[in-house]
């Protein structure tokens, strides 16, 4: 993974784990890699991984069991609301970029509908 985003690295790692949780690649109750394992895998300072896990825990997306490790939350409601939040962020970003390109809301609408129709047709 390349950390070329301008976000702090711990946030980039949080986003990585969040999208894995949203997509189901990590399911509820799954054990996350240990700080050390993830640090080796991503080539990132262990303290940064630790920070990412702590913040995820604060957001109640993961929980730690002493001596056992860090686990993805089993609360499906939390995962659902994470997915909704990520979807909102994506849509926001999409509309902002489209606005920047000079599209009106109606134009964006028709582009989106066209796209959906094409996808449905396949």
């Amino acid at each position: 993974m390349d950390f070329n985003d301008n976000l702090p690295i711990y946030m980039q790692i949080m986003n990585l784990i969040k999208s894995k949780m949203a997509s189901g690649e990590i399911s509820g109750g799954d054990k996350l890699p240990s700080v050390r394992e993830l640090s080796k895998e991503l080539k990132v300072n262990p303290n940064t991984i630790q920070r990412a896990y702590q913040e995820l825990e604060r957001e109640e997306l993961v929980f730690t069991q002493r001596g056992m490790g860090t686990f993805a939350t089993e609360d499906m409601e939390v995962i659902k609301s994470l997915k909704r939040k990520m979807a909102r962020e994506l849509v926001n970003r999409f509309f902002m970029e489209m606005k920047k390109l000079g599209f009106s809301i109606d134009e964006v609408k028709s582009i989106v509908f066209e796209w959906i129709e094409r996808e449905d047709g396949e």
């Binding site: 950390f3 976000l7 702090p8 303290n47």
Partner: protein, 232 residues
């Protein structure tokens, strides 16, 4: 948290040229600190003072609460920016030299590092490529169980594959009981392993802080901040 390094008002002059100007710096236990700056900014001078190879002109330098001397040298593992081994040696001889010199040298750790680096004990130093050389030197330095590791340009002048291996070895050997100081001007490759950064420009600290906090504050990677600080 306890400071492993405390530097107060450190100045170093070479006759009339000021190499380090009134440096103040604390390094906490368990941190990986990057000292960043172009050639000639004073990085190597600072590191040589910490390693006990140069004396300061004025100011105070403490490692683990003690002035630089026999004790601090015994707990500091230093990787110089150039080779320090004899050409006639084999890797095994280099290891024995280290074992004799440093009581904290851990042969098992060294063997693990060697196999990770894909080096063999019976290889001749003379026959090693530049990248292999750097990997061997780093293996020797990391095989000590030290409180402070000082790595001067550990990835300078090596190819990208060796560079990755070196960075992996540094991460694998990180432990929260010891600290690391790494100098580099190859910021992009190193920035994800640094806790703290110190920007050194013409002997002065022009910017210092937590790498993540700087990224957050400025909305930029350390590499871009580096270009800003040192670019024209």
């Amino acid at each position: 948290m306890k400071n492993i390094v405390e530097i107060k008002g450190l100045t170093k002059k070479y006759s009339s040229k000021v190499a380090l100007n009134n440096i103040n710096l604390n390094i906490e236990k368990g941190k990986v600190v990057g000292i960043l700056g172009p050639n000639g900014s004073g990085k190597t001078t600072l590191i040589k003072i910490l390693a006990g190879l140069l004396r300061q002109t004025s100011g105070e330098v403490l490692i683990d609460g003690r002035s630089i001397g026999v004790y601090t040298k015994s707990i500091v593992s230093y990787l110089p920016d150039r080779s320090f081994l004899y050409k006639w040696m084999k890797i095994e001889d280099a290891m024995n030299l280290y074992k004799d010199f440093y009581s904290d040298f851990d042969e098992e750790k060294f063997n693990e590092l060697l196999s990770f680096m894909k080096l063999e004990r019976n290889m001749k130093i003379d026959a090693l490529s530049k990248g292999m050389h750097e990997k061997l030197n780093l293996s020797l330095v990391l095989a000590r169980n030290s409180k402070l590791y000082i790595l001067d340009e550990p990835i300078g002048g090596v190819d990208p594959v060796a560079r990755d291996q070196i960075i992996d070895a540094i991460i694998n050997n990180y432990n929260e009981e010891s600290s690391m100081i790494i100098t580099t001007h190859l910021v992009r490759d190193m920035e994800s392993i640094l806790d703290e950064v110190v920007f050194l420009k013409e002997g002065n600290i022009v910017l210092t802080g937590s790498a993540e906090a700087l990224r957050e504050e400025r909305g930029k990677q350390i590499d871009d901040i580096y270009k800003e600080v040192f670019g024209e």
